[in-house]
């Protein structure tokens, strides 16, 4: 600044300590910058594990079945592939035995892998087991035959019955299940198996409330009339939920508690868990309050008898009157078996 004052200031001996302090400050600052820079370099070179960008799928706590790329070659692999094809597109690949518009994959999501969507890896190791439904020890084949009988409503199919025992359809499906369960523990209850449960709610369930839930959350895909939707080629994209094209009264899904669990844990597709327990119960009740193909076990019995024999104590509208209509009589048989050529 001005020179005069400058001259007057006495020479100030800078303390040596100060000099050293400044020096160490400078070195410290520089060192910090260098360390930061070297850190950035390391990060850049990808040498720090765990910090890399990229997609790391979080492993879920459930059993991890193999993915499709891991399918084996050879005769077993071919069987697995055929089994998967049947599983995914049952109406074509087991066409003689499917009497409605459904496939295994409609309820067993993710190609039979999705937890709480009755995944096959969890089911495989549980059979043979005793089932109260038919009061006997069931093998996996028996169990799948039940699916054809009830969920696929084989009665309306071309053959009019599920695949007979020993059919290749069972072999292939079981190959697929066995493969999905590769490495899974045997004969234990696995986390994520079955459809899970929904706790009972205070209000119970009501189709009237369910109707609103359905309109708000389900109709977009399954259509307002619950009959599902097809693409321009007439292929079902969204399965029908009631009526002649859906599972019959003997299917597990016709029970409101089962349907509620499935819905709560899996629906709407991609957004499971968005419905409250109450909503799941209500909408399950709504869906199962419509007429559907009759229970395969009914035979010549009346609805009343069949209810007593097979549905006693179940959460099901079978044999009850809803809106003045007795349910369980069954939708009329089709003119021609479903899928039969003209």
């Amino acid at each position: 600044m001005s020179s005069e004052t400058e001259q007057d200031v006495p020479a100030k001996p800078a303390s040596p300590r100060k000099g050293r302090l400044v020096k160490s400050l400078i070195f410290a600052g520089g060192g910090t910058l260098i360390i930061a820079a070297l850190g950035a370099l390391l990060y850049e070179s990808g040498l720090i594990p765990g910090l890399q960008r990229g997609d790391q799928t979080v492993a879920s706590g459930y059993f991890q079945p193999p993915s499709n790329d891991e399918m084996p070659d050879g005769a077993f692999g071919d069987s697995v592939r055929r089994g998967q094809a049947i599983f995914m597109n049952t109406a074509t690949n087991a066409s003689q035995h499917v009497g409605n518009g459904l496939s295994c994959a409609n309820c067993h999501l993710g190609e039979g892998r999705q937890p709480y969507s009755a995944p096959m890896w969890a089911a495989w190791g549980r059979y043979p087991q005793y089932r109260a439904k038919n009061d006997q020890i069931n093998t996996m084949e028996d169990r799948v035959m039940g699916c054809f009988t009830f969920s696929m409503n084989a009665q309306h199919s071309v053959s009019g019955e599920p695949p007979p025992h020993g059919d290749d359809i069972y072999r292939d499906l079981q190959s697929y299940f066995y493969w999905l369960a590769s490495g899974a523990p045997n004969n234990t209850q696995m986390e994520g198996g079955g459809f899970g449960t929904v706790p009972k709610t205070e209000l119970g369930y009501s189709p009237e409330r369910g109707q609103e839930v359905f309109a708000a959350n389900c109709a977009v895909c399954h259509a307002g009339d619950g009959q599902g939707q097809k693409d321009i080629n007439g292929r079902y994209v969204f399965p029908p939920l009631w009526g002649p094209g859906s599972y019959n009264w003997g299917a597990g899904m016709a029970r409101i508690n089962t349907a509620a669990a499935f819905i709560q844990n899996n629906m709407p597709l991609s957004r499971p868990g968005t419905l409250t327990d109450q909503e799941a119960w209500d909408v399950a009740a709504y869906i199962n309050s419509f007429e559907r193909p009759k229970d395969a076990r009914q035979g010549d019995m009346t609805v009343e008898e069949t209810r007593r024999l097979f549905h006693d104590g179940d959460d099901i509208y079978y044999g009850q009157e809803v809106n003045g209509v007795l349910l369980g009589v069954g939708t009329p048989d089709p003119v021609r078996p479903v899928g039969a050529p003209e």
Binding site: P16, I34, V58, T92, V220, K230, I232, R235, R271, T274
Partner: protein, 414 residues
Amino acid sequence: MTADRRPEQDPRHPDEHFEPYELDASIPWPLLGISIALGVWGAATLFDTRRHEERAQVERVEDTQLATGQAVEPGHALFEASCATCHQPDGLGIRGAVPPLAGSPFVRNGPELVANIMLRGIDGPIRVNDSLYDGHMPSFASVFTDVEVAELASYVTSRWGESNRALEAAEVAELRGRVADLGSFRGGAGVAEDTGFALDEQPTFASGTSQPVSPEISALIFEGRGGQWSCASCHGDLGQGRENTPRLAGLPTDYIVKQLGDFAAGRRINESMAVVVAELSNEEKRALGVYYAGLRVPSNARPDLGGDLERGEQLAREGDWSLTVPSCFSCHGPSGFGVATEFPPLAAQHAPYTASQLAAWAGGQRTNSSLDLMEHISSALSAADRRAVADYLASLPPVPAGSGDMLAEQGEGQ
């Protein structure tokens, strides 16, 4: 070095010190250490680049080849990727919806007919092995190269038609030239008629009538009005779109009408569209929807985002349940043909558009999907996944557009 302090000054020139010079302190060891460390790093990086660069360029060129449809794997892989969603890996089709290839008289007639059908597509009723199918097979002309068509036709006929003849690419090229302007076959009867092949008795084709476009709507589409630019000036004369301007051709009427309304209401944010829709009446929106739904245009979409097509195919066909993402096709229909109003066709849509919409859902600029389904799915996808699936969908053949609302009705059909 002596301790620093204010230097003595020359009384004649109080602030004019000596001309500066340097002391000879040695280089501090930290600086030497840093220099050596950086030197090692630099050399390593450069050597590493040398190794990396060549491979990266090869990979990029491979991507480009994929993008331009020059994949080299013949027959089987192409079939798995492009045909199996409908006709199924075992060629059995879908009962009641997609005719089988196995045992089909069409396939037995040899690779020329198969190639012809692939190039033209089939609309309307067709009878295969006593079963009647009333659907739409898209034209793959814009999706496959001649080589690919030849490979696929040969593969399909050798596997299910027991023909050993291998079609040549040149024959396909010649065929392509001949059928370029013919449009789709009109049902099975059309195939029999046009090609003269002996096929079983085929149902007759009832042609739909397409509605004429009124002059006002035509002006809106091609000339614009007042402060609005014309539709065609961005979406193309044929509604085919480009880059992130979507393909409109073949989208369902109701879907288009809904989107126009959503632009106006801010459920979709796009400034240019907001200007355009501001003055549209409801009737005009519907008329535009009818017009575009009825347009049938080959695909000009390409996988050009460098996405991983295998991953894209996986997402489209199987989904990724670890991300709670169901497959695209589980809602938008097999092959991405779309289902009714809520689930528009995805096939042959431009990859940048699809990817940008997924991003918009994830980022909240688009909020018009039912039950927020797309918002959730998009948020679960990584950027690479968005590109992968958009690229895969762009590689599919376009939906065969019907006339007017026919498609929407069929979609809901019983």
